[in-house]
Amino acid sequence: MAGMELLSDQGFRTDGRKPNELRRIRFKKGVFKQADGSAYLEQGNTKVLAAVYGPHEIRGGKGKALHDQLLINCQYSMATFSTQDRKRRPRGDRKSLEMTAHLKQTFNAVILTELYPKVQLDIYVEVLQSDGGNYCASVNAATLALIDAGIPMKDYVIACSGSYIRDTPVVDINNLEESSAGAEIIMAILPRCEQIVFIEMNSRLHEDHLSPVMDQVMTGCKDIFNILNQQVRDELCKKSAQDRIVDSG
């Protein structure tokens, strides 16, 4: 079926993108008042909300506290209406638990945990609409929420996915490309020092093709970083200019 080809002969993907093109990214920091930090992020049709609470005292048993570093607590959940077929439970299923563990690992690597011993930080991610790249959107949204909360971090942490279709590495894959049994590589990196903090691959891929795909994903991550960083800085400049006017007069 010609219409279903993931990469057409002219080099376009099903949604009209080029292989190295990202989906449109839009975001807003500080969408909620009650959370210490929050962000909403759209990557194409994938829409994610993230909220950060803390650092605060350990909730529940004190036994969980780490004497030398911050305890990071994550929860990943998906709205029951977020997927094409309705989900029965928003969280607690195996996939969500795995995702929670991944997020925890990712943010443990980037937050300066030794600055806050014996306390806890909560990162909650809620997927409102899912169209592939849920992990990537979650990580990017959570990063923005952490920035909004003012948590000290080594760098941004940016995630992006990629695949290998018809001898071409493609970046930021959507749900259709994700579910079409091709290889899928997910990476989270620290864009400024080019360190990989998380990598996962599903399905199989020839060894020779791995490094082109990884390079493409790395470029994708840096592109996302530039988009996020630009807007974060612009907002900050605008805010500080406003504050200066208030201070001076």
């Binding site: 909620f32 008042k33 209406f81």
Partner: protein, 288 residues
């Protein structure tokens, strides 16, 4: 549910100002806070709406599915409510922490919508005695700023207004009747929500009855009455909540007050939804 801690002095302040007919934010007893309604933000659903009432934030998605009819009611469709308290609202909802509150709200919604005239249930029946539409109404609680029940019911009504149910064609062959759901996004029918109720919560604070209580006022109120009110002023459900008790006189007064507010609120909401649809603006959602 709330992490608002008020000292005795603060409570007394709210109570005393109520006696002089002032609320902490300057509203009258029957005034609502600023509210924003938006429909059609989640494209994976058949109908969706977001309501932001002061800092209470609710997102509702409705999905439809063809299912066998309920043998006891073979000629009507079905609806099912589900509410998820997102941990984004407060860390107390993490894991299964929000389930108590969730079941309370879904029970109230189910009761309010169990009235046969609430929505056009027979129109949801596709093939009498065999197949009907089941509406999964999934509510997501994103932030709590008081008056959850009312905000949830407003969001549910807006999402039902936005609902687009695909048309079904039936073909008869020897094996029986075959149902074919249209996959054309413009081939749909709407649901009549004129009779859908909105929950109005009337809080008793001191000797006064107030609607749309903020979180602080909710802490001061010992008893509240929740009523499902339709556009015509019919009461479809009633529930008393809270540790205090109420006498019959104040209950009838509260019902009158809720009716007045409920009728007005229903009218306003329908008006807003109609105008929003007429303008055909793209939803901005959380980016605003």
């Amino acid at each position: 549910m709330t992490d608002v801690d008020l000292s005795e002095a603060e409570k007394t302040f709210i109570l005393h100002s109520m006696q002089d007919n002032f609320r902490e934010d300057g509203r009258g007893c029957e005034d609502f806070r600023h509210m924003e309604v938006e429909t059609g933000l989640i494209s994976n659903t058949n109908g969706s709406a977001r309501v932001r009432l002061a800092s209470t934030d609710i997102l509702v998605g409705v999905k439809v599915q063809l299912v066998p009819v309920d043998p006891n009611k073979p000629n009507v469709g079905r609806i099912e409510f589900f509410l998820d308290c997102s941990a984004n609202a407060t860390p107390a909802f993490e894991g299964r922490g929000g389930e108590g509150l969730a079941s309370e709200i879904t029970a109230m919604l189910t009761r309010a919508y169990s009235c046969p005239s609430a929505i056009d249930y027979p129109s949801l029946c596709v093939l009498p005695g065999q197949q009907c539409w089941l509406l999964y109404i999934d509510v997501l609680l994103l932030e709590c700023g008081g008056n959850l029940f009312d905000a949830v019911s407003i969001a549910v009504k807006s999402a039902l207004f936005n609902l687009r149910i695909p048309n079904v064609t039936m073909t008869k062959d020897e094996g029986g009747i075959e149902l074919d759901v249209s996959d054309d996004p413009f081939d749909f029918k709407r649901l009549d929500v004129a009779g859908a109720p909105i929950i109005v919560t009337v809080n008793k604070i001191g000797h006064f009855h107030v609607v749309d209580a903020s979180e602080k006022e909710e802490v001061c109120s010992l008893a509240r009455l929740m009523l499902g009110i339709t556009e015509k002023g019919t009461v479809t459900a009633m529930k008393k909540e809270g540790s205090g008790s109420l006498d019959t006189d104040s209950i009838s007064e509260m019902i009158e007050s809720a009716k007045k507010v409920g009728v007005e609120l229903n009218k306003c909401l329908l008006n807003i939804l109609m105008t929003e649809e007429g303008q055909e603006v793209k939803p901005v959602g959380f980016l605003r």
